[in-house]
């Protein structure tokens, strides 16, 4: 990895990374799992494994990324689903048994499972 030697190089790297994030946002299904200690204690690890299993079962590809704690302890485990060019929708208290329906209805069907939805992560956050 090349070391960053100046402010200009850092800005260039920032723009490059922003471009890559933007591209992923436009092209990929991205699943975020809150996996801080709090999320893991609430069962995020099992939920994450279930997501991987269910995606594999359906031969779907998605970028799965773990994130820290967004603060809603009471709704852990938290899982966000972002379809290409769509808002990042957060689901709360996602148990492994709920994963299949979220994948089928939201990721495949394009319709969020409204009864489990918490909110949309603001784009300017």
């Amino acid at each position: 990895m090349a070391k960053i030697g100046s402010l200009e190089e850092l800005k260039a790297l920032m723009q490059e990374q922003q471009q890559l994030r933007k591209q992923a946002y436009q092209e990929k299904v991205i699943i975020y799992v809150g996996a801080g200690t709090c999320g893991l204690a609430a069962g995020a690890g099992e939920t994450l494994e279930q997501i991987e299993r269910e995606l594999q079962k359906r031969n779907l590809s998605a970028e799965i990324t773990t994130v820290g704690c967004i603060g809603m302890c009471v709704r852990e485990p938290l899982v966000d689903v972002q379809l290409p060019n769509q808002p990042r929708v957060t689901y709360g208290n996602v148990k492994p048994a709920m994963v299949a329906r979220i994948i089928d209805e939201h990721i495949i069907g394009g319709k969020p499972v409204m009864e489990w939805v918490v909110g949309i992560v603001p784009t300017d956050w």
Binding site: L7, L10, Q17, T37, I70, C73, P87, I120
Partner: protein
Amino acid sequence: MENVELQQDQVAIPTYTELPYYRKQVRIALRNCGIINPQRIEDYIARGGYLALAKALTEMTPDEVIGVMKESKLRGRGGAGFVTGIKWEFARRSPARPKYVICNADEGDPGAFMDRSILEGDPHSVIEGMAIAAYAIGSEEGYIYCRAEYPLAIAHLKTAIQQARDYGFLGKNILGSNFNFDLHIKEGAGAFVCGEETALMASIEGRRGEPRPRPPFPAVSGLWSKPSNVNNVKSYAMTPQIILNGAEWFASIGTENSPGTAIFALTGKINRTGLIEVPMGITLREIIYDIGGGIPGGKKFKAVQTGGPLGGCLPAEALDTPVDFDSLVQAGATMGSGGMIVVDEDTCMVEFAKYFLTFASAESCGKCVPCRIGGRRLLEVLTRISNGEGKPEDLDEIEYISRNMKEASLCALGQLTPGPVMASLRFFRSEYEAHIYDKKCPAKVCKGLITYRVIEENCTGCMVCKRNCPAGAISGEKREVHYIDPSICERCGICITVCKFDAILIE
């Protein structure tokens, strides 16, 4: 077609900023937590990470950095609330070399997890803040003192430090300047007193974690007797944003004397527990009811404890107190590091104070007498009261011991250990008096002062309580009224939970 449907559905999904939980929050230290992958430095960079360090190194002198920090009036988020910029200036002016930058991540308050969440969710913000501090005071080496009970935080920190080295944000000639800085992690063994800065530094040196008198302050003589700057995780995490957006921006948030945001771990008897970041000056009522959603089960709010086991509780009358360093102290509590525990009417305030006192006195390092002996004596008095053996002179005794601990203890642990007891005595004196004079626990919690009794009219003689009683305290035949023997009863409450006929009461 599918996309169109999705758009229509989403009209009904609120964005976070429309949710009551987030509406009043302002995220500065938590801006990346839960948003980015904390183990990918590229995610941090994409959100402007390390730009503040680059700005400081290439466009600002160390004195200018300190100037911005002083102007922003950021006060140390560890609890004491000392102005960070002034602390940095003291360390900068110390002539001795080398100097050290230390991050206090020894978060130990029961129910507190602010620092852990930042370290786990956005470790680079802390690293960047520490590097800026190092540049400002003239240090080349830093330590993060994190408790070993936070394995995930330590793992994320280790990954982050390595990534920062790989990109050249730590190491030699950072960003083409001639500034060098690198970081170590010191895992603490979990002694609460090691959150006190002089004990913390002793622990890094490999000595027993015991505090020493100040002065000399760490800025003059700290780690290995060299000038050192110790700040909390949250203070460092806010630093890059202050450098990037300017002192004026930061000072425009919050109140005049406590600018910026406060981070709280909201726990206890509250509907929406969680980690929140709010502008200083918000009221306790807004936090507990608007953000936290109030008390579950239709119960009544009784008190809120801020500042953890060294803080204090405030009653319902204080709910409109603005949350900032000075107002909370004035009201009788403290800001502390950010624990906020809400309790409802079912909590006994004597028992509540006793809980914190048990914690704090067990964590006394034993070096100074007022803390070592005072804490123990105070706990004896409180135990006596909650057992129903309290004497009328006990309340004066509590005040006497507390005053002496406060004035004579070596460090904040001993000085503040009586805090929760003093606050609960101040606001809930009648509850102490009920324990002492009437031998009653108004919240029906203290086991020495309550009796479980069968309500004869309701009891059907179903025998469920008798079968479930682990102490064998319940007698009675089938279809006959049962009896609980108070001399055998352990007051565990299992009979109440299993009885289907509301036939057991506590008195």
